[in-house]
Amino acid sequence: MSAYRPGWQRLLVPPRVDPWLSGALLVLVLIGLAVLHSAAAGDLAVVRSQALRDGAGLVAMLALARVPPARLRLWAPWFYAASLALLLLVPIFGTGRSGRHWLYLGAFYVQPAELMKLSVPLMTAAFLSERVLPPRWGSLAVCAAIIGLPVALIAIQPDLGTAMLVGASGAFVAFFAGMAWWRIGLIAGLGAFAAPLGWGFLHDYQKRRLLTFMNPEADPLGDGWNIIQSKIAVGSGGLWGKGWGEGTQSRLEFLPEHTTDFIFAVLAEDFGFIGVCLVLALYLIIIGRSLWIAAEARDSFGRTLGASLALTLFVYVLANGGMISGLLPVVGVPMPLISYGGTSAVTLLAGFGIVLSLAAHRKFRG
């Protein structure tokens, strides 16, 4: 531990970061840029803009790594309130290609929904850390409100993927707080029972995606196209892949959205099963190390928040990887730190800044 220095001078001290987690994240970001270079057919402007965002994300990560968790807990309500306010502005001032997702804040665009991926677990963890744990129905009801409000707002944008992730990130906090298994089972059971009712609230394109997932070959040139072409890209990569930038499915644009949602198929095509395993191993390191750091955290706030952030990343990986390989329906979830996209990279890295902060401020062990 560095000696205490007052004020801004503390910023000059090199941050003490966990080498495993930060190293794995850095390697992943670099691999992401390499795959993006291939997916964007060598368009350096795309790579450069993603590198800038990754850089901004890494700066945010290192900055948050210095903030003691206790202070984060104090900020949590304000952060949550600010995110919620921005989210409420989206339906009024928002822009976007397929629904209103983006807010223009003078100099740049943000997706308030992305901010919620941090604010919701932060707020839930802050709230639960004040309560008796494991949480009972009273606490859980408040958690449901904290989580449910932004999720509903995001779902009507409509952005099912982000809503799902935000909901998961909050629910994971409750899970890690020790929510009793029988309560989890009850809620899951009720959810399964209510699912057919939810079908009616889905947009047509969302219904179609689910139906297409069930039987992609029914309409190979329409809705099934994405899944089929993605599977062809993955499968034709074989064990060793076609080589960097040699993937024909991506280069010849058979693969849709190959810089964003389907970028993992580009990776699978270029680098084969070996490349896929390498990246999945990196995710396993990041998630496992984060869970370890969370478990070692000094209080419930740190443990629940850190573990939730780690598990949320896993949901990304599973949802995207499952979609790419035709295992799960097409939901607009990017592959974390590989897919092209600004806010997602920044919030993800910022989230791992919190985890790094937990590592740096872990309880003293003889």
Partner: protein, 619 residues
């Protein structure tokens, strides 16, 4: 300090529970990531072959390379059918969306007639959705430019360069060369679709259709890498197309022009043959039509106008026109008399102006009232004395006459290398029984002797028969194909046509006598065509025979001046000839429709043709 209902916090228990949950989560993550990795292994390792194949199928498309169609030349190498670079507009239906909407939008950019649009929509629906279908051929430069600017608005629509067939002589060779047209559904049923993949045109008429096999060539294949939009990125492999063979016709373009000029605008037909080998030197059916509009799709109205024109320009008179041969048949009947030994050249028959069968009332007349007196073969031919041939026909009998004249090809197709030839009618009792279900009457033998009654010949049949008089009776099938050339720099290979059978004339002296008689027609003091012949100063003798096929039968004493008749009721004027008589190099058949007298109208046409050919080919 425990308050009831508000349990104490227990940080240690919390930590233990939460760490256990983290462990549970890690195990879950590990298992699910392993499942995901397993899924990728299933796709990438177990099913690699399948997806590799599908990826290649995505990437590589085989595009046909349309071979250049063989050119058609005349015997001296003048181009009769050429390939001219042009642009067309193709549509791939599956990329272009709704066809009606597409047509409406295309009209903003290119000119597209109602019929073209209908044809396009019909043929697009008939083909498979990924096959390109042509919307419009021969785009103008302005249209190509306008489309290029608007290209982004039309996915699946493409400007494609191609070779457009062009007939530089216009209507001069329409009835010989024919034309190519857009491949339609009936063509597709007729040909091997693989050989015509990518092709837009096929021979529809004339030489273009008859020699489609040779002209079309061998389609090539180009393996191209395409992107998802179907845009070609690069060529991966290539098996080149082989252009069709070039064809040299025996036709002489200059002579053909001379033939048409000789008609001076009159309707009719003419065939010029080389009696030494059966080559067709010129073949004209007038009036003719311009084949060029047929290539890019003639409009329905324009086609109907051609079809319904009273002058029938689309009708190939040479092949399909049925004419009464009239007196042009007399040389053949006369030859039959000599060959059967019923006459010698010196034997005479008395012409009194009217011929009667014994026991019959009906009179068969000579054209000169009062008759021609005693005439032998030479005089009978020169003055075209009907009575001589009436009597000869009766002496021959219909069976013998019919079988002998059949040897000259009457009543059957000549076998020329063009499609759609008519057979005509060679009158015989058997023919009449079959076709009219009636017995043969003796009077019909009489008029058959002068080429009237049931007789129907095509100009080509008469030309073929005339050629046999010129070459000693060798029955060559008239043919147009002279040579083929595999490539433009390869030597032309002469086509070998089957040799004719043995001569149809048993005694050459008989043929000599008939030839002499035919010379009398033009050169003799009483010849029907001597007046016309006198206007020509040829350095050789011509053997010929006039014919005036009746359209209105003559009754009784009434004599008609044909020039007084309405145009369409006038007689057809016929003339057959060959020259020079000592070693014939050209045989001609001319029919001038509604021309009136054969000697006055058809003879000069034929003589001009003979002159035009022999003057340029003095041997």
């Amino acid at each position: 300090m425990r308050t009831p209902g508000r349990p104490m916090r227990n940080p240690l228990a919390e930590a233990i529970t939460q760490r256990r949950r983290a462990l549970v989560a890690f195990l879950l993550v590990f298992v699910l990531l392993a499942v995901l990795a397993g899924r990728f292994a299933w796709l990438q390792v177990a099913r690699y072959e399948e997806f590799h194949t599908r990826s290649e199928a995505n990437r590589i498309k085989a595009r046909p390379i349309v071979p250049a169609r063989g050119l058609i030349y005349d015997r001296t190498g003048r181009i009769l059918a050429d390939n001219v670079p042009a642009y067309r507009l193709d549509v791939v239906r599956e990329d272009a969306g709704d066809l009606e909407a597409l047509v409406a939008r295309l009209r903003e950019v290119i000119e597209l007639g109602e019929e073209d649009a209908e044809t396009f929509i019909a043929s697009a629906r008939a083909r498979r959705s990924f096959q390109p279908v042509t919307v419009k051929l021969r785009l103008s430069e302005a249209e190509v430019a306008r489309f290029a600017v608007n290209r982004h608005r039309f996915p699946g629509v493409e400007v494609v360069p191609y070779l457009n067939r062009h007939y530089p002589y216009g209507d001069l060779f329409a009835h010989v060369v024919g034309y190519v047209g857009r491949i339609d559904e009936s063509d597709l049923a007729r040909v091997d679709p693989a050989r015509y993949s990518g092709a837009t045109h096929i021979g529809k008429a004339g030489i273009e259709r008859r020699y489609e096999e040779r002209l079309h060539g061998q389609v090539g294949v180009e393996q191209v890498e395409v992107n998802a939009e179907g845009r070609t990125l690069r060529v991966v492999g290539r098996e080149p197309a082989h252009a069709g063979q070039d064809i040299y016709l025996s036709i002489d373009a200059e002579l053909q022009q001379a033939v048409v000029d000789a008609f001076e605008g009159q309707p009719g037909a003419a065939v010029v043959l080389d009696p030494r080998n059966g080559e067709v030197l010129a073949l004209a059916s007038l009036p003719s039509y311009d084949p060029n509009p047929f290539v890019s799709g003639i409009g329905r109205a324009a086609y109907a106008a051609l079809l319904e024109a009273p002058s029938r320009p689309l009708f190939n008179r040479v092949l399909q026109g049925g004419y009464e041969p009239g007196s042009t048949l007399k040389p053949f009947v006369g030859l039959a008399g000599l060959e059967y030994g019923l006459r010698t050249p010196r034997d005479t028959t008395l012409s009194t102006g009217a011929f009667r069968l014994p026991g019959h009332e009906r009179e068969y007349r000579d054209w000169r009232r009062g008759g021609h007196g005693h005439v032998n073969l030479g005089e009978a031919m020169a003055q075209s004395v009907n009575t001589y041939f009436f009597q000869l026909a009766v002496d021959l009998g219909i069976e013998r006459m019919s079988s002998y004249l059949g040897r000259f090809g009457f009543g059957q197709p000549t076998g020329i290398d063009l499609l759609g030839e008519a057979s005509g009618v060679l009158p015989s009792p058997q023919w009449k029984r079959t076709n009219r279900s009636q017995p043969w009457y003796p009077g019909e033998t009489v008029i058959a002797g002068i080429g009237q009654g049931f007789w129907v010949v095509t100009p080509l049949q008469l030309a073929q028969a005339t050629q046999m008089l010129a070459n000693g009776g060798l029955k060559y099938a008239p043919h147009l194909l002279r040579a083929t050339q595999a490539r433009f720099d390869a030597p032309p290979v002469l086509e070998s046509w089957p040799a004719p059978g043995p001569a149809m004339v048993q005694n050459p002296a008989n043929l000599q006598a008939v030839t002499q008689a035919m010379v009398q027609v033009l050169h003799g003091p009483t010849g029907t065509a001597r007046g016309v012949m006198a206007q020509f100063h040829l350095g050789y003798t011509v053997a010929g025979k006039t014919g005036t096929a009746q359209r209105v039968s003559r009754r009784g004493e009434q004599s008609l001046d044909v020039n007084q008749l309405p145009f369409t009721q006038r007689h057809n004027a016929l003339f057959i000839a060959f020259a020079p008589t000592d070693a014939p190099r050209v045989a001609v058949m001319v029919v001038v429709e509604h021309g009136g007298s054969g000697s006055a109208v058809a003879t000069p046409v034929a003589l001009r043709i003979i002159d035009a050919w022999l003057r340029r080919n003095p041997e």
